[in-house]
Amino acid sequence: MNIVVLIKQVPDTWSERRLTDSDHTLDRASADVVLDEINERAVEEALRIKEAGGGEVTVVTMGPPRATDAVRKALQMGADSGVHLADDGLHGSCAVQTAKALAKVIGTLGDVDLIIAGNEATDGTVGAIPAMVADVLGLPELTHARKVTIEGHTVTVERDTDEGVTVLQAELPAVVSVNEKINEPRYPSFKGIMAAKKKPVRTLSLADVGIATSEVGLAAATSTVIESAPRPPRSAGQIITDEGDGAAQLVQYLVGQKLI
């Protein structure tokens, strides 16, 4: 089983996240960046499938040079190899371009049986890249999975959304996205960290995967951010300590604000 995991490096949700003043793209330079937590779970799921049935796990990312750290983290967890599409021409790409570029990269990897992604990234919350990649590749998508089962050439997932659980099934190859209830990702072991140093990471340019620079980046994006501004932070209001009449004071506040 050849498994590809789509991973993304994102600003750490614990740190302050900013947009640049110049072109309103993510200020990657000022942020602490990490492998998105949901992608750790995607890697974990791939490793479990490999451990149960054999195969190879390749992680794929598109992003700036330092995104290689995210690839390394996945290799430390146990993925076999990494592919990193990095090119200045990609800066400011929109979701449609991202999906098409990821599909191109996957296209260079030979026979792929299963593509696993996170359901939604914590930086953009587009929540659609996996389905879009599936569309470009002409593969079925089984998204928002809280459970994935592979039997022979059939993949079955429990899709978990507000509507409830929908059980979906398709033949491989297919694209699966996982939600945060899927598993608890492992920590890299010391052995894993050492082994990762020797694992291959290929860095590809746009030319390497056959994408013209005119197809991607800010200038050709199908959507563009024209303006951005931080919201003024909230300030603390009135804090009281309950000495028997805390609830009564709270009720008074709510009445004063016409909330009850």
Binding site: V96, D135, T224, A247
Partner: protein
């Protein structure tokens, strides 16, 4: 005036509230045209409501296949309409399904995708609330058609009569080889409470609530206020409350008139899902809890004392 397509969200023969919001937003950009993708016999039940919120047209795309596949029928219908009608925009609710339908439609039609929009101006400029509401960004599509997903509850629906002229269209056959099949549905039991993202009051419980049984305290306060119930990720992970009620970075984003946080520390990722609420109330026994940094009114105290007293006082007042 160019048409603006609105994909209708419906369940059990009823139009969902977010659709009224989308029709209202659509009227700012052009002529609202509702698109119903459903099993046969559904659109008839929806048309009065769609007319009441300004649908000039209703495209009726009904087929039995709609119940067998998730996104594909809607994507197929919308892609054909984009080609034939050349709308100014397609508006879709920013739900799990809606976001994916929009993404696939954008790929197929080469259109700009504007995601999770909280405001839409007449010139097509969309406002996004990013990084958990700490930034506002404005964007535009550079393509002839914009595919826009709109966050539920962010646009005030305005009723205004529309002609609602029905036009029957085909649901293109789904390619079974490239589409996952639905083999079972286990819908959630809907509680008698408002939907989390639509509610004007939300009462949430965190790890401090201590157990699934104790969540009854949260629910009782919520019911006295006519509120929806939410939970922190720690409460969900501990099995106190189901996942679909999680508020935060990787859960729901809510922006109610009143948000009450009980036994929630206020980690940055929880705040990401609720900090744009109008008024925030927090009860926490730790005076250092970060939730107090953003609370309009905070009580340092035990939720097991405060919440029941509050419930009683509110119930009495409503008497």
């Amino acid at each position: 005036m160019a048409e603006v397509l609105v994909l209708v969200e419906h369940s059990g023969g009823e139009v969902k509230k977010v659709t009224n919001e989308l029709l209202t937003a659509a009227a700012r950009l052009g002529e609202p045209a509702a698109v119903v993708v459903a099993t046969p016999g559904t659109a008839g039940k929806l048309s009065d409501r769609l007319a009441a919120y300004g649908a000039a047209k209703i495209y009726v795309a009904e087929s039995d296949e709609v119940s067998q596949y998730l996104m594909a029928p809607a994507v197929g219908v919308l892609a054909e309409l984009v080609a034939s009608v050349r709308p100014a925009a397609v508006l879709i609710a920013a739900s799990a399904d809606g976001k994916e339908i929009a993404g696939k439609l954008a790929v197929r039609t080469g259109s700009g995708l504007l995601s999770d929009v909280v405001e839409l101006a007449e010139d097509g400029t969309a406002t996004h609330s990013v990084f958990g509401g700490s930034y506002l960004a404005k964007s535009r599509a550079t393509t002839p058609v914009a595919v826009i997903t709109v966050r539920a509850g962010s646009i005030e629906p305005v009723s205004s009569p529309g002609a609602a002229v029905e036009q029957i269209i085909e649901v293109p056959a789904v390619n079974a080889a490239t589409t996952a099949k639905i083999i079972e549905r286990r819908p959630v039991q809907s509680a008698d409470r408002p939907e989390l993202t639509e509610a004007s009051v939300v009462v949430s419980g965190g790890r401090g609530v201590g157990s699934a049984d104790n969540f009854a305290i949260v629910e009782k306060l919520a019911d006295s206020l006519g509120a929806a119930v939410g939970a922190s990720r720690a409460a969900v992970d501990s099995g106190f409350y189901p996942h679909q009620f999680q508020v935060g970075q990787t859960g729901k984003t809510v922006s109610p008139q009143l948000y009450v946080a009980l036994g929630i520390s206020g980690a940055i990722q929880h705040r990401a899902g609720m900090q744009t609420s109008k008024t925030i109330i927090a009860v926490n026994k730790d005076p250092e809890a970060p939730i107090f940094e953003i609370a309009d009114f905070g009580v340092v105290g035990d939720l097991f004392t405060i919440a029941p007293q509050l419930t009683e006082a509110i119930t009495k007042r409503k008497g």
